[in-house]
Symmetry: C2
Subunit: 474 residues, 2 copies
């Protein structure tokens, strides 16, 4: 084996997580190879965050203007769907990864294109796109950053029917006249919002009785109300039992009859992209999630050389959290390789503490949903003494100015023993940027008596913070 | 003197500051009278924050939509100025204070309408609107919350010319065809933005060479660029030397010739509304600012009974900061009256520490300017070891999605000895709600190594925080 095939660190998967992890390890002095079988930049750049937000933003901005007398009539024209789709294409870099490859080069990271899989301890075998195989060896570590794939249910006819996952739904070249969406999570509600605005008649089929079931209940309720008002046919308690396509799609909804549509998106969860990753060569179960400790080390693999970061470890399936893990774990790998001391205390440099208690999430619906930390249900289940403090955001002067008929809701979850904020959820127009105030408060463990001195500017929506504090004080 | 004229606390001025101060003192067990000669609710509610933001928001929302392909053409209609002005009227409560009066009632605060002035220690004489005078006595304290008035320069012809202050400029019933604005601060640039959008041809006359001179220099530069692009005739180094009106106004600009307009707004600063407040009866200079300590007690007045809160004490001329002082000082007054212990440590319950180091401000121009804490110039002058970290907000993915051609700039000021954030300035579309993240970081003194764990959601503008941290790390 030539020396050219040995690196300090080998990263599998060049999405945002892998890129950040590789970058920090490189900055820490390691030689790094990154293996990618699709596009450098990953799911988020081409088939998730970027294109979906590009689809959502123009109609949302138009909607904001329409909520204001004086601007309403001026913004009464028809949304130009083609222009939105072209802008989306640009944000997906036209599904070309040249820019990302150039960044890897500039960072001094070696790109190996192909399908990489583990081949025993510290070895990675790469099936090259031009054929043949290259074997890489890692002096210190291998990091799995392969993310997830859409999880499709096992339904009669699904393989033949040509269904959409997030990839087709974010990349579609036109709005299908009728779009069925199966699911009630973030992907489902965002893409229902987008395609309804872009001209499709969307039917949203939810197996349970709520949207966004992992968040505070009022989040899903407000989003459901808004989707209905936008014209989405929202049905709870409905499952797809089978489907066929002959020209149009026919979805068998069991006792609820059938539904016809041009396309159907299954937004029914994610499965780890670990099926063909050679996990069996290191004693792990192929296709499973990879459990890690707070430094990113895979549990159950001896030798301390295998790491997993991002969606694949199931700690938090969000791009920004994967990037965070990439930064932390990449630094850990370099520090361990160099024999530098780690900082393993909670919130230390070497542990991804935020994964446990301060994960932010924005759902870019209209209203937006922005949350960080624990929900009331989670905090209660954890046995903490907590109090939920609620406030209607529309009663804040800044929100009333922002839009007529502003509807929104805020909840802060107070740890009664420490008098800190354990979690915050905002629902409303324009709360996406307000979230970071909550993230700083939660991750910073800023006590309530100090938050009283963090004065929100008047008149902004942020003044909801003051109302929450006042409500807590009673 | 009847018992009905004795109160634990007498508050002069029922703006937001006086209202909050009265409310907290009342909640602390005191009987409170509040004296107001104009509208309960104060300058902010009727002639400043509320109406100005009502003028600014609809054109800003329309402009946001126009920066997005797909929405641009749909938002191409003409702004309906009349509708904007009617909405403004509603936000100014049609200059009726019934709602505010009802709130005072519900809070158990006694409203005394009329012009109140000090009449020696713990005494207030009120000239009643129906004629006659009522004398009130305070068992514990008197709080001056009378705010400021527009400061007009002493120019030949100014009294006869019928010029605008913030009151006329926020309350105007139509857009003057040509509007001259004198000044370069927040009021000047906000109202230039508003009236240019609402149909006036605005000329902005700035004596110095920069807009928003108290903020980071790039803030004024970006706002100047945007005002020029919006069509404002922006002139630096120009002073008005006199003015006359005969039908139209003629402004004498000295060596720069003259300028003709239908109206002229002087946004040339504020003076304390203390001219007819009886300050001379307690040994203070009439018409001056009232210096206070961190608990709100007026300096130089023996007996510990006179407080001043809000603009009138010159600590921070901003509504939200006056409200903050009102909360802190109102509680202090009640605590002192009851003999409860104060918490005088920095950031304690009884001191308005944020006034010194964590004052937030949003200028609602387009781009918005949002800042908190110290500027580089202020921090350097204070002798601290600091480093300014700069980042172009348009390079953040969330900003690029937010608007095509997003222009914005962020600066974080790092205390090199403590590794905390001393100040932050954001300039860009939609940064108003992002500011509170910085306010929590500055007021909370959250260390940088903890801010690394406050993960911004992807893709939001808030990710500029990550870029600032990365830039600092180098």
């Amino acid at each position: 084996m030539s020396n050219a095939d040995a690196f300090d660190l080998i990263v599998l998967g060049a999405g945002p997580t892998g890129e950040n992890l590789a970058d920090r390890a490189r900055a820490g002095g390691l030689s790094v190879a990154i293996v990618e079988r699709e596009l450098v930049g990953g799911e988020c750049s081409y088939w998730a965050c970027m294109p979906s937000k590009a689809l959502l933003r123009p109609p949302a901005a138009l909607q904001q203007a329409r909520r204001l007398p004086g601007a309403r009539a001026a913004a009464g024209g028809e949304l130009d769907t083609d222009a939105v789709l072209r802008r989306r294409d640009a944000f997906a870099a036209h599904w070309q990864d040249d820019g990302q490859v150039a960044w890897l080069d500039s960072a001094g990271i070696t790109l190996v294109r192909g399908h990489g899989r583990l081949d025993g301890e510290r070895r990675v075998a790469v099936d090259l796109p031009e054929g043949g195989r290259r074997t890489l060896t890692a002096r210190h570590a291998v990091a799995l950053c392969t993310g997830t794939r859409a999880a499709l249910p096992d339904l009669p006819g699904i393989e033949q029917a040509g269904v959409w996952t997030n990839r087709e739904a974010t990349g579609a070249a036109e709005a299908p006249p009728r779009l069925a969406i199966v699911g009630g999570g973030a992907v489902a509600v965002e893409l229902a919002t987008a395609w309804q605005a872009l001209g499709s008649r969307v039917t949203l089929l939810v197996r349970g009785q709520a949207l966004l079931p992992k968040l505070e209940p009022f989040a899903g309720e407000l989003v459901a109300e808004a989707l209905r008002e936008a014209g989405v046919d929202l049905r709870f308690g409905v499952s797809v039992e089978g489907l066929t396509r002959s020209g149009e799609l026919v979805l068998d909804l069991g006792e609820h009859g059938e539904l016809r549509a041009e396309e159907v998106l299954f937004a029914t969860g994610r499965r780890p992209a670990t099926g063909e990753l050679g996990l069996e060569t290191v004693g792990l179960e192929p296709g499973g999630w990879i459990e890690v400790d707070d430094t990113g080390l895979a549990v159950g693999v001896p030798g301390g050389w295998l790491y997993a970061a991002g969606d694949v470890n199931r700690r938090a399936l969000l791009t920004h959290q994967g990037k965070y893990q990439g930064r932390v774990f990449g630094t850990v790998i370099a520090d361990r390789a160099a024999g530098r001391e780690l900082d393993l205390a909670p919130w230390g440099r070497s542990v991804a503490t935020a994964d446990r208690v301060a994960v932010p999430q924005v759902v870019f619906t209209d209203p937006e949903v922005a949350s960080v930390g624990l929900t009331l249900a989670e905090a209660t289940a954890s046995g903490r003494r907590v109090r939920a403090v609620d406030y209607r955001i529309g009663d804040v002067a800044g929100a009333a100015l922002f839009a007529d008929g502003y509807r929104g809701q805020a909840r802060a979850l107070i740890d009664l023993d420490r008098e800190t904020v354990l979690g915050v959820t905002f629902v409303g127009a324009g709360v996406a940027e307000l979230l970071h105030s909550a993230t700083v408060a939660v991750a910073g463990e800023v006590p309530l008596d100090r938050l009283w001195h963090a004065v929100p500017a008047y008149p902004t929506v942020s003044e909801v913070w003051l109302r929450l504090l006042e409500t807590y004080r009673g």
